[in-house]
Symmetry: C2
Subunit: 770 residues, 2 copies
């Protein structure tokens, strides 16, 4: 790992940026390679902040099914790239960042020279297909720039992007058999029938347009493209790998395999042939649109009206620099800088822009909509991101977060189910995970004053969603106060999450003086109590008849009423009322001991196997940082009179769970949530209950930080006497006054000011009242 890191630093130092202000550059600390090994599920390729295009290498394209059954290996390729793989199949334009299920991988392009091979080949024998071996020593991954030498082909591949356009630059050897392959069958979480339809038009000798509809995690997802070559191809062709279209009719008049400009079908691969001189660069601009090929072309022309690769790279890197500059930190060393700014990088990839330059996007109702007064975003992994990611945006990117909220409300308007998004991408909801956490994001924005638009309408959307009786046990939840386990397999986690979400709705109702709704939802917010079994001191599945289910294992996850978390972790999930929870679980003292056990106990392998999405390193004792339900847990010590334990645990998690190597993330980054946890906790505070305006104090890991707010003000954090050993907070002042509480409020941040922690090597509780 250390060795690799050296390689990165070396590459960094070679890096020249913008006007040459190398010393001021923050993007030098961005290592997109972090999280690409094992469970991080990040991608190393190029993208701009929240860009619609994520142009990145895919090291394998594993089928979703094997022998008619789910193929477990597919999971490793959520982002298309696994660090340990020896070959690259090609470069595709869409990738999720850090998800635990996947889709996308649209429009895979691969350059090759020599004999044309249209099949990808295998990792063992890349020479039998168009894929190529590669080596990490010939690989550079920066923010918005990726470079790799393709060993088999002796082609240098470089990638960069603008918001909606991928830019490829391939340096070829001399060849009269140079090819660009466009694999329209390839994809992530792929299977034979996933591609519903593909339509391609060769408009002229250097422009290709088309679209592809897939039926995957998103049931019905269509992506349109325009592909422009810097040099005319001398010939092109298509191979149809499907069993064929039943009706061929008079299309037989044409030889559709070669130089035929209108290609449509289900399983297609295309090639474009060139003659190249030595070191000749063939460049490709590849623009996407959710609406039409016309819009894709318009996006390309608006964003990149030239062929200057470096200009696009630099403009994108300037966007990243601007994004990262919103928080300027000083920290102990390069590792900390890399961890912090790579976290900021990973927390600015998703959700992605889902709108053309002309403002059009496809809605859930399959119609084309015009985004009026907001940027439309997609890919909301809300079960993850409501916790810290969206609250993080509310501080550093409130306008963008407001647009994301508008996007969610547009989703609601277009939803046949009349629901806010659960896990939405590309004009679809895939309904992944539990809760209806859009309401948390919306409530957080309304409570913190970053919401734009009609709050009453937003409240209505939240309420309607929360009253959708047919959705995952909500009917039972409303009628009985909990979801019976005999009716729904994730009855406890859903009950707990609904209760928190309902509390969020109540906060908004209160703010908007809708007493009726406040009363309804503040009552529902207490439903967590209905699944708490005082006889064992844990949340526990309950049956329709009111009894708790007899068979129960507090370490087990599967079949116990939870999703991605056993009751040890999930029982702590009452962010809306931790004091009452602590009281019910035996009071502060007993609860603190209970927390101590969580972090120190050993989770046997048989149970670890059930924690999804994480490596063994992703857990500490039985505390599962790699999954989200425990993200607030370390902060709960604050309410037990032992805040120093929050401080030490937070610092321990920061150290243990985040590294600078490719395997630097112990679990899926989850679309920025893991990274947002890192950013908040490094700064010394964390939003335990979004939709409250409080951030609970932890232990800052930086020396200092300066947060540039959108309103022009600056909020500073200083950690005096900071070191790896001095993790305990001795004193906190806000704008010079001693802080007599363990939280700060959102308005205290947005008003600007300075929060000073004085650190020490031993716990000190005096001076903090709570």
């Amino acid at each position: 790992m250390k060795k690799l890191l050296t390689a990165f630093v070396l590459f960094s130092s070679l890096y020249t940026y913008g006007q040459g202000k190398q010393n001021q550059s923050l993007i030098q600390y961005v290592k997109p390679i972090i999280g690409t090994q094992k469970m991080g599920h990040t991608f190393p390729g190029a993208t701009v902040p929240f860009g619609a295009v994520q142009l990145s290498p895919d090291t394998d394209t594993i089928p979703y099914e094997k022998d008619g059954k789910y193929n477990k290996d597919v999971y490793r390729y959520c982002a298309g790239y696994q660090y340990d793989d020896p070959t690259i199949v090609g470069f595709s334009h869409t990738h999720f960042s850090g998800t635990g299920h996947s889709d996308l991988g649209d429009f895979l392009i691969m350059p090759s020279a020599g004999k044309l091979q249209l099949n990808p080949g295998t990792a063992d024998h890349p020479e039998n297909g168009y894929r190529s071996a590669f080596s990490h020593k010939n690989e550079v991954a920066e923010a918005n720039y990726y470079k790799v030498k393709l060993d088999d082909q002796q082609i240098l591949a470089e990638l960069t992007t603008s918001t909606r356009t991928g830019f490829h630059q391939y340096t070829f050897p001399a060849s009269d058999e140079a090819h660009i392959i466009l694999d329209l069958m390839a994809g992530i979480y792929n299977y034979e029938d996933k591609v519903v339809w593909t339509h391609v038009r060769v408009e002229n000798d250097s422009l290709v347009t088309g679209y592809r509809q897939t039926n995957g995690w998103a049931k019905n997802r269509t992506v349109y493209f325009a592909m422009s070559f810097s040099k005319p191809f001398k010939e092109y062709g298509t191979k149809d790998y499907s069993k064929g279209q039943v009706y061929k009719g008079f299309w037989r008049k044409f030889d559709q395999s070669k130089n035929f400009p209108e290609i449509a079908g289900k399983q297609l691969r295309m090639y474009f042939n060139f003659n190249t001189t030595d070191k000749e660069k063939i460049k490709i601009k590849f623009a996407l649109s959710p609406v039409s090929t016309k819009n894709a072309l318009e996006n390309m022309q608006a964003e990149i009206p030239h062929w200057d690769f470096n200009k696009v790279k630099e403009e994108g890197q300037q966007q990243w620099e601007k994004e990262l500059s919103k928080i300027k930190i000083k920290a102990a060393g390069t590792e900390e800088m890399i961890n912090f700014y790579t976290a900021m990088y990973h927390a600015a990839i998703m959700p992605t822009v889902y709108m053309d330059v002309n403002g059009e996007y496809k809605g859930l109702d399959q119609n084309v909509h015009q985004a009026e007064g907001f940027v439309n975003y997609t890919s909301f992994s809300l079960w993850d991101t409501y916790r810290a990611f969206h609250p993080y945006l509310n501080i550093v990117n409130p306008s963008r977060n407001a647009d994301m909220v508008q996007s969610m409300l547009a989703h609601y308007d277009q939803s046949a189910q009349k629901m806010l998004p659960i896990w939405s991408h590309y004009a679809n909801d895939n309904w992944c995970m539990s809760g209806y956490h859009s309401v948390s994001v919306i409530a957080d924005a309304i409570i913190k004053g970053t919401f734009k638009g009609d709050a009453a309408k937003a409240l209505e959307a939240c309420v309607t969603t929360a009253r959708t009786r047919s959705y995952e046990g909500i009917g039972y939840y409303i009628d009985m106060g909990y979801i019976p386990q005999d009716k729904n397999g994730t009855s406890v986690s859903s009950t707990l999450e609904y209760a928190y979400d309902d509390w969020c709705i109540a906060q908004v109702a209160n703010k908007l003086k809708r007493t009726d709704l406040y009363n309804e939802f503040i009552k529902r917010a207490e439903n967590w109590k209905n699944v708490y079994d005082p006889s064992i001191g844990y949340m526990r599945p309950r049956m329709t008849d009111g009894t708790f289910r007899k068979e129960f294992d507090v370490l087990k996850t599967d079949g116990q009423g939870f999703i991605e978390g056993n009751t040890w972790n999930y029982s702590l999930y009452v962010p809306q009322d931790p004091d009452k929870m602590i009281e019910m679980m035996g009071g502060k003292k007993k609860f603190a001991v209970h927390l101590d056990s969580l972090f120190s106990m050993h989770l046997p392998d048989e149970f670890f196997a059930e924690t999804e999405d994480i490596t063994r390193e992703g857990i500490i004792g039985n505390y599962v940082h790699g999954n989200e339900p425990s993200h607030h847990v370390a902060y709960l010590y604050n309410r037990t009179g032992q805040p120093w334990k929050t401080q030490e645990k937070v610092r321990m998690i920061l150290k243990k769970q985040y590294h600078t190597g490719p395997d630097g993330l112990g679990g899926n980054d989850d679309c920025g949530q893991m990274s947002a946890w890192y950013i908040f906790s490094s700064l010394g505070f964390y939003p335990v209950a979004p939709a409250s305006d409080q951030y609970w104090l932890g232990s800052p890991a930086v020396y200092s930080a300066s947060i540039q707010l959108e309103n022009g003000k600056i909020f500073k954090v200083e950690a005096k006497n900071q070191s790896d050993k001095n993790v305990y907070v001795q004193k906190v002042t806000l704008n010079g006054s001693l802080l007599d509480r363990l939280y700060i409020s959102h308005h205290e941040i947005t008003e600007g000011g300075t929060l000073v922690y004085t650190m020490g090597p031993k716990p000190k509780v005096e001076g903090t009242k709570l």
Copy 2:
């Protein structure tokens, strides 16, 4: 047949129309049932002139394949309805009129009562499915109105339409199990994978929207719909008949089979349940769009903002009355009136409007376009319709024809192949049949002055199309002056048709003073000579080496270098230079004898079997009226000095080939071409060579006709002393002056005037100079 006719007349007399002006009504003579038996391939259902919706009963839904092979029976169901069938499967919204291959049959609706059955059942056992037995005695088919009693269901079904909206009215018995079934798998020329994708949204308890993409004759055709019920359904559901979607994921949270509002997949059937009182009417408005569900709904709201079935029916019938009133005839009897006005009806169904009320349509490039200044049309069966149908429109509907030409030019603009349409429907070209006859239609419009727009651009489109070397032998044709049979199986018919089309281009080039192009194409127009074998006196396939192919049968069609016509028929196809053809075939006398043989010889069954699309009654001797290549042949006698033979043959064909029964058409109506032949020939003239301005004289079958021209003028035809025996023209005057030629010019029609034929029982050539 007679008996049936009586039934029709009875229904007609019961018919009350508009303001009750029954006597003046022409639509009383429209019998949509004509051509629904055997080979006519017309449909009996409701449509308005050139309407986008053709709402009509389907009597069976035969699969395209049977045991993995083409199912010959599917051909009988080109229009969905076969008169002899005992059951109706349902009512679908799109139908071709008189084609010889098919597609469409979108969105089949069927009412039922009692136990819900989602499968269609079989003709033998309709009780095992949702289909129903019916009887022609309980059936009424009028222009824009269709009514039938569904015997099994005891439901009265009534259908009418506006341009883009179908209107269903079902009168139910009392039932607490009344259903409306929406079969999204059904279709014409259907097979398992034809439906690529279906997406449906239940917007509320009486509105459903969605779309369906099919891969059939049109490779990639999507139709969007909005479906509104007059009464809320009490519940609804979906059954997915596909092998299922691989990824189901969190969609399992929902019961998608019942009352679930977002339905997507490949093989779906839906039902909507109601309680009905006795004789309760449930009405459905079903609007289509080529663009979006939003546009479909807008179409519905713009066209039918109410629930008054009779109003829609009457408005549509008024449109028909207006259309038919463009030619007012007097004729011998009701049969002649029915034949004539049903021909006018059938010549006003296709092409169909392909554009939403807001002007949007989907183009060949898959993008949404706005039709600027014209109505966009689709479904151009040009190999058929360039002959007489479009010339007919140039007289009675020149503005509409100009819009159709604009639609063809828009098609060209959007074509990846840079070609004008060959056989286009729904933003696709299916490339059916030979030639590039768009150029004939465009040239005819330019020569006759009905063309609107940029003629130079139109010429460019024609020239580019004619120079597409990769298309069906054009490269050989250009290089060698003919298509070698060893390169292309329809080498002779294509060579002949290209030569005629090239002559059309030359006419335009001449008019636009493009001498370069004139010279190029007038030379190409002589290429027909290259496939004429003087040693046998027939057109004959020629090989790459210049020799005529040895194996050749003048009666055979298959494998002889022709499509839908043997050399007996096709050798006569030189409309651009009949005099030269006659000369080469031995001169006038010999040629006339040759023609006599054509009409009098016997075509043995083995060869008849190869003439597609027609019944045995569709031929006269070896003259195949049921197919198009011979449509001008009877008029060729005019150039042999024996015009009386044209006269008697035309009258014979009118009598023999057109009847008032369901089997009244001896071959496919071919989208109005057969009907346009009837109309022209009945009026006494015919456009032998579209793109010339001449109409050759035949023998009028009407007593008189008054053609209302768009410019406000009237052109009258009178046939004095007219009778079944008096088929010979004794004298012709135009505006009182003796006509000394056997043709009239287009401008003589458009200037208004009176053409008077004096008829007699015996040939008389004196007074006609040619």
